[in-house]
């Protein structure tokens, strides 16, 4: 009897406890706590998923790069040692020393930077001018002309490569005076094209500037006009300083694409003394022929050093301007 009573008491206690818990569970005071616990769990899961994804994909991107950088410091023994992975035992700078000599690095890089910087400045000026013209002036045939900008973005320059080549081959008869191919082989064709708003991906830059200038308030220009500013003055000293996000975006895009461009430099046969990417393609063959390094595994290490040397300037630029760049794209009007 005693036991039964005990059990009943226990059951009643338990039921009471369960009810209490239920009440507590439904109690408004603890609702927030419960929700918070669920939310925290969810957040933790999302965070784990996100971290795994971002880390994994970052590795896919950075993996080859890390391999190249690490390999460029390998000495011959490291390359063939089975226990060496990424961190060399006898690191050497010899790869870089020889790659610099064989690529004629300093001179070519200087020329390349001047070439790229010059083209970027031209592209910036011309494309912003054209974009401003489209954004803030109405003139007959504007829609058709803007359609031409879109056509220029959509049509790959490969479609028109042959006529471009033949056009610059007899550039208004200049070649007849200067012997064969006075224009091709230099930087003139691409400079002319950039000046006329049809340089490398110029359509995209015009589009970006057009979208950005359209978003600026009209009152700026009206105030300038009332104060007696001409339209060239308005464009250069009033509109351009306001277009900083677009300028940063276009500058980086232009530098990077011009730097990596092989299409125009191959088409117009720009000399390898100016374009560093032409040095990299022939580097391995040069090194195995001139320095008698016939083992491809070793000569590849020199190629890796050369690649690191070539990408360093762009990486530096990107690291310096990275923040402005991503913010710039966000405000530059690509999105419209």
């Amino acid at each position: 009897m005693h036991d039964v009573q005990d059990v009943k008491e226990m059951q009643a206690k338990q039921a009471g406890f369960a009810e209490k818990m239920k009440a507590k569970y439904n109690d408004k005071r603890f609702v927030n706590e419960r929700h918070r616990a669920i939310r925290q769990g969810k957040d933790l899961l999302i965070m784990l998923f996100r971290t795994a994804l971002v880390l994994g994909l970052s590795y896919v991107i950075l993996g080859p790069l890390i391999g190249i950088v690490a390999n460029s410091f390998f000495s011959n023994s490291d390359k063939y040692s089975p226990i060496v992975y990424l961190i060399p035992q006898n690191p050497t700078l010899e790869r870089y020393a020889l790659a610099i000599i064989r690529m004629n690095y300093w001179e070519v890089m200087r020329n390349m930077l001047i070439y790229v910087a010059g083209l970027t400045i031209i592209q910036l000026l011309v494309c912003s001018m054209v974009g401003y013209g489209f954004a803030r002036h109405s003139f007959p045939g504007k829609k058709i002309l803007f359609a031409c900008v879109i056509i220029m973005i959509v049509i790959p320059s490969h479609t028109v490569m042959l006529p471009l080549y033949t056009f610059f081959m007899d550039f208004f008869g200049i070649n007849l005076l200067g012997g064969s191919n006075a224009i091709l082989g230099g930087t003139v064709p691409i400079i002319v094209m950039s000046f006329l708003g049809t340089g490398l991906r110029a359509g995209l830059y015009i589009y970006i500037f057009n979208q950005f200038f359209r978003g600026l308030p009209k009152e700026i220009e009206e105030a300038a006009a009332i104060d007696g500013a001409g339209s060239l003055y308005t464009y250069l000293f009033i509109m351009m300083p306001n277009a900083m996000p677009s300028i940063v975006t276009v500058t980086i895009f232009s530098i990077v694409w011009q730097y990596n461009d092989t299409f125009f430099s191959n088409l117009f046969m720009v000399s390898p003394d100016i374009v560093i990417s032409k040095q990299i393609t022939s580097l391995q063959a040069n090194i195995s022929n001139l320095d008698r390094i016939y083992d491809p595994a070793i000569s590849t290490l020199y190629l890796y050093a050369g690649i690191v040397l070539v990408i360093i300037p762009v990486i530096i630029l990107y690291v310096l301007l990275q923040k402005q760049f991503i913010e710039g794209v966000e405000r530059s009007g690509i999105v419209g």
């Binding site: 006529p163 060239l232 990417s277 690509i334």
Partner: protein, 327 residues
């Protein structure tokens, strides 16, 4: 320089002329403004006419004529009307053109779909607030910065040399590296046994194997999507929250419609970008500059361009039907 002078000439006499009778000036203000606009745009007009319009017409002329290079001459060629003979040759006689064209177009359509999905997904993730977000964004944009055709070519050449048997040891090492890791075929068979459609399995396997290509090609698209996400007004999300929408509903009812106009931009960018890398472009480049067959090469580039434009037109028509335009 002459443009500047003209602009200044039109500009200067504005304040003084106001008290004179307006008959003197023949141009109305509207006309003056439109001339100014034309002057601003003029470099582009000249460039487009010289380099694109003329070149397009020239390409068409090339494709409709036989180019004959006289033997012994250093440069120059003569043209002879050929009608559609070059087109017939490209489609019926050339051994690889039709195959490469179809291949390129198919690959492009597969890639575009994957790249758009991937970049939108990554943009959603990179748009959230978490530690190291700036670094992650920088890393994901890195492939765009380092995407140099020359470097890729050099690495491909180095690999080819390595596999070419010049050094048996290194070739062995490369092979061993290739066979390690999980056995993919096992999983493919397993999913086949489960009765999943083979086309779907192939597509997924293809996508996974090309993950590197897809990540590399979607940097710009990702940035554009991030920018679009940032430009969505926070008030829309507040309303959705007050109305009791779940995150899932919020995505489909707020985020996706607001981002959708940018999908077309990204599709165009992706198609054009992957077309430049496609084998059919390489084929026309080789035909023109290595084999010096100008007519046939022009036919290749013309046909492939038209095919890509058609592809773009169809995709954009389909997408724009489902696009929501806020303004």
């Amino acid at each position: 320089m002459s443009e500047q002078a003209e602009v200044v000439a039109i500009e200067t006499p504005l304040p003084k002329k106001t008290h004179k009778p307006p008959k003197k000036s023949r141009l109305t203000l509207e006309q003056k403004k439109s001339i100014r606009g034309l002057l601003f745009v003029s470099p582009f007009i000249i460039g487009f006419v010289i380099f694109y319009l003329r070149s397009l017409i020239d390409t068409i002329v090339f494709s409709l004529t036989h180019t004959i290079m006289p033997e012994g001459a250093a440069a120059g060629f003569t043209r002879e009307w050929a009608g559609i003979a070059n087109f017939r040759e490209a489609f019926t006689e050339h051994p690889t053109f039709t195959q490469e064209l179809v291949d390129s177009l198919l690959n492009m359509s597969v890639d575009v779909l994957l790249i758009i999905f991937f970049s939108l997904f990554m943009a959603l993730i990179l748009n959230q607030k978490f530690k190291g977000r700036t670094l992650a964004r920088a890393i994901f944009f890195l492939p765009v910065i380092l995407n140099s055709e020359a470097i890729n070519l050099a690495i491909t050449m180095a690999r080819a040399m390595m596999m070419g048997g010049m050094s048996p040891v290194s070739a062995e090492v490369v092979e061993a590296a290739g066979t390690s890791g999980p056995n993919l075929m096992y999983y493919i068979y397993m999913f086949e046994e489960l009765g999943l459609p083979i086309a779907l399995i192939d597509y997924v396997v293809e996508a996974v194997m090309r993950i590197n290509v897809i990540i590399t090609a979607s940097g710009v698209q990702m940035i554009i999507f991030i920018a679009a996400l940032q430009s969505i007004a926070p008030s829309l999300y507040e309303v959705a929250k007050i109305e009791g929408a779940t995150p899932y509903e919020t995505f489909w009812k707020v985020t996706f419609p607001m981002v959708s106009p940018l999908i077309i931009t990204n599709v165009v960018y992706t198609v054009v970008d992957s077309f430049i890398r496609s084998p059919v472009v390489g084929l026309s480049y080789r035909t023109i500059f290595t084999l010096h067959n100008f007519s046939l090469g022009s036919v290749f580039s013309l046909v492939s361009m038209l095919a890509v434009c058609l592809l773009l037109f169809i995709t954009c028509a389909i997408i724009s039907k489902h696009t929501y335009y806020h303004n």
